[in-house]
């Protein structure tokens, strides 16, 4: 399959140019990448914060979607700015799992890229004003053992 070739080309493209607020943290191997994203407008929920996304690619990428979720990074005493929390959002569980149509097997399209996924998540945060987690967050976080793309989220709430 063409996963590794496609990813190395995405990487070359991103090293030349990235949209504002998106940066590459880790891309040494072609199975897992980490990206940092920032919300660029003045949304008080996300101002002055940076969030870390983890991308996991299978050999069938980009025919099948990557697994994308937020990961938490604690700050250290020597570098308090290295802290990466999980953003608050009605579609983001507190364990970092994101409920976003385009990341599901049914909603994914192979024309999406790591860059376009980062931008979609950026705008999903920008557009939100609700300071809350998805309904049933604590139950989901304690009991869910499925992988994100196998979960049947309901994408009926288009207002957020």
């Amino acid at each position: 399959m063409f996963a590794s070739k496609r990813l190395s080309k995405e990487l070359i493209k991103m090293q030349e140019h990235l949209p504002p607020g998106i940066s590459i943290v880790k891309s040494e191997n072609l199975e897992e990448w980490q990206m940092d994203i920032k919300v660029l407008d003045d949304n008080p929920l996300y101002r002055d914060e940076t969030y870390r996304l983890k991308f996991t690619f299978g050999s069938k990428y980009p025919i099948e979607p990557p697994e994308v979720q937020f990961i938490e990074v604690p700050s250290t005493e020597s570098a308090p700015e290295s802290k990466r929390p999980i953003p608050i959002h009605p579609h983001i569980y507190s364990n970092g799992i994101i409920c976003l149509d385009l990341l599901s097997s049914a909603g994914w399209s192979p024309v999406q890229t790591v860059e376009s996924v980062c931008m979609s998540i950026q705008s999903m945060l920008t557009a939100n004003s609700r300071n809350e987690r998805p309904p049933g967050d604590s139950d989901f976080v304690s009991y869910n053992r499925r992988r994100p793309r196998d979960i049947n989220f309901l994408y009926d709430d288009d207002n957020v």
Partner: protein
């Protein structure tokens, strides 16, 4: 029994003992020269050993035994195209590969992706040969320097062959050294060309592939573009995989099937034209 010899050959092949495997397949062929799998297995083994002349013979034999029209011959035709490339006969390799690609596509054979790749490699090799001729024609000094590098390589290769014949080095070491020598010469020629290009007063062409020739799924230059109902073109290999799995148009998510794909001949001609003039784009 000849099939037992083949079985033992397969074991050696799996363990990486290609010389041993080749020997056992050869014995099997002596016992039964009508069995195509003996030839295909030996062709694959010889591919590993880069014994291209042998690969060519075996592949042609297997194709004949299977019959030209049989889909079983597709893998052998893939071996054959690789051998011809190894033997520096890219035009023949291209013709074999493009025929096989079309047949494989029609038969929905699993070799399609491999064949698609070898078609591109053959095109690149054809371009490289033409480019060499063109550059040397343009600049006689460059031609002289390149010929010196090549003569030097030939001398070193002959020496190496001599060492192998006298038993001073083993087969594995021979292959490794041979590869290293070829790569050195290749690098030298690239450096010389780069220097001449820089000295040639802005005749350096910028190497950019236009986005409209690049497939949105594999991110490679298209060689068999097809168009989806919403109007975007993709290279056949990737889009077929996606549509078979998802059943929707990747841009609009409207339901569609593989039968809704149409070839985009104009774009194909544009891609071919670009590749003819810019062979480097195959590796891009």
């Amino acid at each position: 029994m000849s099939f037992e010899l083949k079985e033992r050959g397969n074991h050696l092949y799996k363990d990486g003992d290609y010389n041993g495997a080749e020997e056992l397949y050869s014995q099997a062929i002596l016992k039964n020269p009508r069995e195509p799998t003996f030839f295909t297995n030996r062709a694959l083994t010889r591919t590993k050993l880069e014994k291209w002349a042998g690969v060519e013979q075996d592949a042609r034999m297997a194709i004949e035994l299977y019959g030209q029209k049989s889909p079983h011959s597709l893998k052998s035709r893939w071996y054959l195209a690789q051998a011809l490339l190894g033997l520096q006969r890219p035009q023949e390799a291209y013709e074999i590969a493009i025929d096989a690609y079309r047949a494989s596509l029609a038969a929905k054979n699993s070799q399609t992706e491999n064949l698609s790749k070898i078609v591109l490699r053959a095109k690149q090799a054809i371009w490289a040969a033409k480019e060499t001729a063109r550059l040397r024609e343009m600049n006689l000094t460059l031609a002289t320097v390149e010929q010196l590098v090549e003569a030097d390589l030939k001398r070193a290769l002959d020496d190496l062959q001599g060492q192998l014949d006298k038993g001073e080095i083993g087969e594995t070491g021979f292959l490794e050294d041979q590869k290293a020598l070829r790569e050195d010469a290749e690098r030298n020629i690239q450096n010389v060309r780069e220097a001449f290009r820089i000295a040639s007063n802005g005749e350096i062409r910028e190497r950019v592939v236009p986005d409209y020739l690049v497939d949105g799924i594999t991110f490679e230059i298209m060689h068999d573009p097809v168009i989806v109902p919403s109007g975007t073109s993709f290279d056949r290999i990737g889009i077929v995989k996606y549509v078979e799995q998802s059943g929707v148009d990747p841009i609009t998510r409207t339901p569609m099937t593989v039968n809704d794909l149409r070839p985009n001949y104009a774009l194909k001609a544009a891609c071919e034209d670009f590749l003819t003039k810019n062979g480097w784009a195959v590796d891009w």
